[in-house]
């Protein structure tokens, strides 16, 4: 034995300054990019706000209570369009909530083999991936002709209700809401399913052990426990519905008149922007930016509420 074990002739190489700096630089580079995400968000809001300042000065808050939109006379108000946005997304939610939750229940409980469930879940998710403009095209050529007789029937027998007081014009609130409902279904389904699936299995076992049937367990235990998660999902879907543009623009008919009838053409903020931005100039651009700003505020409020609700659930289980 000539050399002692574990003896080293050289000391460990110490880290050079260049490498130390590289190490730091990389960390701060990633930090800078991460922070830029927040800045992009601020930039979007700030840019749209600053460009809407002329319109805000000219119309003030009257912008949201006035319902003439007339580029010729430079009169801008979005009451009818805001009502259209809210009614359209509200109606879509009304259709999508029961369907979505029913689907989520069927996919989260073991009614069918796991393999088939995976395929069905994938298909529901696929609904969300189909481009909005394809739904629009489909809506124009399939849904509108399909819904028209239903609208005729509603008008004939229920015309005394203001909601159905006009003959269907083809494009309008009703077909737009139906297509929108289809588009937001996957969000409600996915989030409701996730929050049901993430419940601790003990909840289910305890309830079944006490002698409750499967559906009694679902209604009395699982749904109440997952309630805030489901509500959060619905809020996210509402946010999506308010901002959905192409399918709605192609089907809703783009009329800025305020009307009670769901069979009449209507308009939404997103559709207004889609239709007019390319040809707008001067005050009209500013008014459109103002409308866009209103839309941002609405979706931010809904999304932040959704985030808070969903986070609350995560904290609980």
């Amino acid at each position: 034995m000539t050399t002692a074990p574990y003896s080293r002739t050289e000391p460990l190489a110490s880290r050079s300054n260049l490498e130390k700096n590289l190490e730091k630089a990389f960390k701060y580079l990633t930090l800078a990019f991460a922070v830029s995400i927040g800045l992009i968000l601020v930039a979007i809001a700030a840019l749209i706000f600053s460009q809407s300042v002329p319109a805000i000065k000219a119309f003030g808050l009257g912008f949201v209570t006035n319902n003439t939109w007339n580029p010729v006379t430079s009169q801008y108000g979005i009451l009818a369009i805001m009502v259209g946005t809210l009614v359209n997304s509200g109606l879509a939610l009304l259709l999508a909530i029961p369907l979505g939750i029913g689907t989520a229940l069927f996919l989260s409980e073991d009614f069918i083999p796991a393999k088939i469930r995976t395929v069905l879940t994938f298909m529901v998710e696929l609904l969300a991936a189909i481009p909005s403009v394809v739904y629009g095209l489909w809506g124009i050529f399939i849904i509108i002709p399909l819904i028209k007789p239903v609208g005729m029937w509603l008008n004939e027998y229920f015309g005394w209700i203001p909601l159905f007081s006009t003959k269907p014009a083809g494009p309008g609130m009703l077909p737009a809401s139906i297509v929108l409902a289809i588009m937001i279904l996957p969000i409600i389904t996915a989030i409701a399913r996730d929050s049901l699936a993430s419940l601790p299995p003990e909840l289910r076992q305890a309830s079944l052990g006490l002698g409750a049937t499967r559906w009694e367990t679902i209604f009395r235990v699982l749904i109440p426990a997952a309630f805030s998660g489901i509500v959060g999902g619905i809020m996210l879907a509402l946010g999506r519905a308010m901002g959905e543009t192409m399918a709605v623009t192609m089907i809703i008919g783009n009329s800025n008149r305020l009307s009670w009838s769901l069979l009449n053409p209507a308009n939404t903020i997103a559709s207004l922007l889609a239709n007019q931005f390319a040809e707008a100039s001067g005050m009209q651009v500013s008014a459109l930016m103002y409308a866009g700003f209103v839309l941002i505020i609405l979706t931010f409020i809904v999304n932040i509420l959704a985030e808070l609700i969903v986070n609350k659930v995560k904290a609980k289980y």
Binding site: V35, L47, T245, A278
Partner: protein, 287 residues
């Protein structure tokens, strides 16, 4: 003592309630999935009629004339999405690296994750309004492929950050320790060990984001606008498949409507292929 009968009776009200609820929720599932098939079938039937070589090689015909193709829109979609990808992937991946590797879930990370969620919640048309205000009306680029790419990049960012963040967090802690243990720097560990380990999931996420962006229309109709000609440069208006569908859907000419269906078929096909491949790849895990 009398034994309680634990068998459930078929006629019991509770049993009937259970059966009917099962039927109702099953019907909900059917009603949810039927539209998917309806869309796929109609797009396939209407689109396949116009699928031929000309579709890929020719320009759209003048209104009223037949034939032609959507070649310019295919190339245009490719260009605009490539710009968006080039912008959003580096920003998204590096942000996610900070979130998962360096932040340790501090205040900044929580704020960035919150901002990412908000960003994914903004309507796609708002991204268009933003690009319009920043690049088009400011005169920087005008209606152009670049403006369209920027708008799409804003929409791709949240998806890329989220998928990368998740992919990095799944990478086992041991391989980081191993790399650091043999003397690697943090940046070397991240660049040469952690990122490659998560690469397939990251690519899957990016591909899904690209498929989504290729179908986006709203942010493009007043940023990239549309052009009936072959792309002439990044600072010029440019045709995209999605905007072509929108423009041609509402014209009364049959040949243009047929092209709209054909373009829709291409988009839906792209979405289907990417989603199924992504599904297939995420099933296999590297670790």
């Amino acid at each position: 003592m009398t034994a309680v009968n634990l068998k459930k009776k078929k006629s019991d009200l509770r049993t009937l309630f259970g059966y009917s609820m099962t039927a109702i929720s099953g019907a909900c599932l059917l009603a949810t999935v039927i539209p998917l098939f309806a869309v796929l079938i109609f797009v396939a039937i209407q689109g396949f009629r116009s699928i031929n070589l000309n579709l890929f090689l020719k320009l759209p015909p003048a209104p009223g004339l037949g034939g032609g193709g959507v070649g310019n829109a295919i190339i245009g979609t490719f260009i605009v999405v490539a710009i968006a990808t080039a912008i959003s992937v580096p920003i998204g991946v590096l942000s996610a690296v900070y979130l998962s590797e360096f932040s340790g879930d501090n205040q900044i990370a929580r704020a960035v994750r919150f901002a990412t969620n908000l960003l994914s919640g903004i309507p796609s048309i708002i991204a268009g309004v933003f690009a319009y205000g920043a690049l088009v009306s400011s005169g920087l680029f005008g209606f152009s492929a670049i403006a369209g790419g920027v708008a799409l990049a804003v929409l791709m960012l949240p998806t890329i950050i989220r998928t990368t963040d998740e992919a990095l967090q799944i990478v086992p802690q041991e391989i980081r320790w191993a790399a650091l243990g043999v003397g690697a720097y943090r940046y070397q560990t991240v660049l040469f060990v952690v990122l490659p380990a998560a690469l397939s999931s990251i690519i899957t996420g990016v591909t899904l984001a690209i498929a989504r962006a290729a179908g986006e229309t709203a942010p493009l109709i007043f940023t990239a606008l549309y052009s009936n000609f072959w792309p002439r440069g990044l600072k010029e208006p440019i045709a995209t498949l999605a905007v072509l569908v929108y423009n041609f859907a509402s014209v009364p000419y049959k040949s243009q409507q047929e092209l709209a269906w054909a373009a829709s078929l291409l988009l839906v096909f792209l979405v289907l292929i990417t989603n199924i491949t992504a599904r297939f790849f995420t099933r296999k895990k590297a670790y």
